[in-house]
């Protein structure tokens, strides 16, 4: 068991940037096709990151670099714990800590656009955090354990018990992946100063590290999506893969068909969905358990 865990973690650490980057490239290609454009190569994100590492190292404040680096390494640890089959709730707590390092790295300059981005990032975190925690609790109620390795070893996929939680999680996935309409703190496209937000003051390699961390995060989050479907039956892994790809496609679609909303709509809609989809699902499940 220990060696298996070790292999999984190693695979995650080595492969996640490639998978995440490739998915990012697919995202740009598919988006371009949806808009009737040819679009860049699917390997474009890798070209971008390689270029960013080549640029002259500039910093607004020296300490930014170490905070960005801590953000990336913490992200790797968070994902690593998840793929090692550890406690899901602790993984999510660790994810919050990660996000905090990003906020600190961004706010370290106290420059106007980065500060705006930080405060927006915090609102986004406040919006998605309840659903993230409820997801972990949902798995616990459905399977009786917080351990990822035990959750995926069940006879029945968790989705059977957690359809509402799954919908809620997909909803916040839009925020976490920084997709329109919820890309308030920093966006992948339509570049203006205010939507560059948290990454505004990051130059060259620092920005590259942020990209890397985002790829790690994407793989981790898609791993959580997969967890809803995976069970002891090997066939379920294939099903989970298909669902993950569908979920990713859905996010791209939402990204392309919606306009950015303001923070109030973001916060209220997310909390309402959390309460209705997550809360109701959980309540029914808990009461059934009794």
């Amino acid at each position: 068991m220990a060696t298996k865990q070790f292999i999984f973690v190693l695979l995650y650490i080595v492969c996640a940037p490639f998978i995440g980057g490739f998915l990012d490239g697919v995202d740009r290609k598919v988006s371009a096709r949806m808009q009737g454009r040819k679009g860049p190569s699917v390997f474009q994100p890798f070209y971008d990151v390689i270029k960013l590492f080549q640029k002259e190292p500039l910093v607004v404040k020296r300490s930014q670099t170490f905070l960005v680096m801590t953000y990336l390494l913490f992200m790797v640890i968070t994902g690593g714990l998840f793929f090692a089959g550890m406690d899901l709730l602790l993984c999510f707590f660790s994810l919050t800590t990660c996000a905090m390092f990003l906020v600190l790295a961004a706010s370290f300059t106290h420059s106007p656009y980065a500060s705006v981005g930080c405060q927006r990032e915090l609102v986004q975190m406040m919006a998605y955090e309840p659903m993230v925690l409820l997801t972990a609790v949902g798995f616990y109620v459905a399977t009786g354990t917080f351990y990822v390795k035990d959750i995926i070893g069940m006879d029945m996929s968790a989705i059977v018990y957690l359809p509402g939680v799954f919908i809620g999680f997909l909803f916040i996935l839009t925020i976490k992946m920084r997709k329109s309409p919820f890309d308030l703190s920093t966006a992948h496209h339509a570049h203006q100063e205010i939507v560059r937000g948290v990454t505004q003051e990051m130059v060259g390699s620092n920005l590259a590290l942020i990209h890397l961390a985002e790829w790690y995060e994407t793989v981790f989050l898609l791993g959580v999506v997969a967890m809803f479907f995976v069970n002891s039956n090997p066939v379920s892994y294939v099903a989970a893969l298909i669902v993950v790809l569908l979920a990713y496609f859905l996010e791209i679609l939402i990204d392309n068909v919606s306009a950015r909303v303001n923070w109030k709509v973001l916060l209220v809609s997310t909390w309402v969905v959390t309460l209705v989809a997550g809360g109701v699902n959980l309540t029914i499940l808990v009461l059934m358990h009794r």
Partner: protein, 145 residues
Amino acid sequence: MANVSRSPWLLHYDGSSCNGCDIEVLACLTPVYDAERFGVVNTGNPMHADILLITGGINSQNASVVEQIYNQMPNPKVVCAVGTCACTGGVFKECYNIKGGADTVIPVDIYVPGCAARPQSIIDGIVQAVALFQKKHEEMKSEKK
């Protein structure tokens, strides 16, 4: 030597342009011309940009701004003046507040003429800028060695 030419990120700065060239610059990103197929991203931030596209002439108010933005771009970087005004000052050259083209305040590498510059020529300018970007990168690396 890393190939950086596949990822040219632009910063578009509007000097005292009449907006004709600005519209053409943005047209480059539309489905018809799709500059993103070369990996072009229109960033809103000099710190992320590799190529500075300037439209319009330089006046006494924006001279310091252009200079500052240029200085905030990390090396290697390329400046591309788009449109006659950015190249020379154009029809506004003799105005009391116009200093002239972009090269009055910062070194310009590529000149794209036209009033307004056509998207085809802008893309051509970008492609040349990309080649220069790669060259400058290689020079920077060999200097370091």
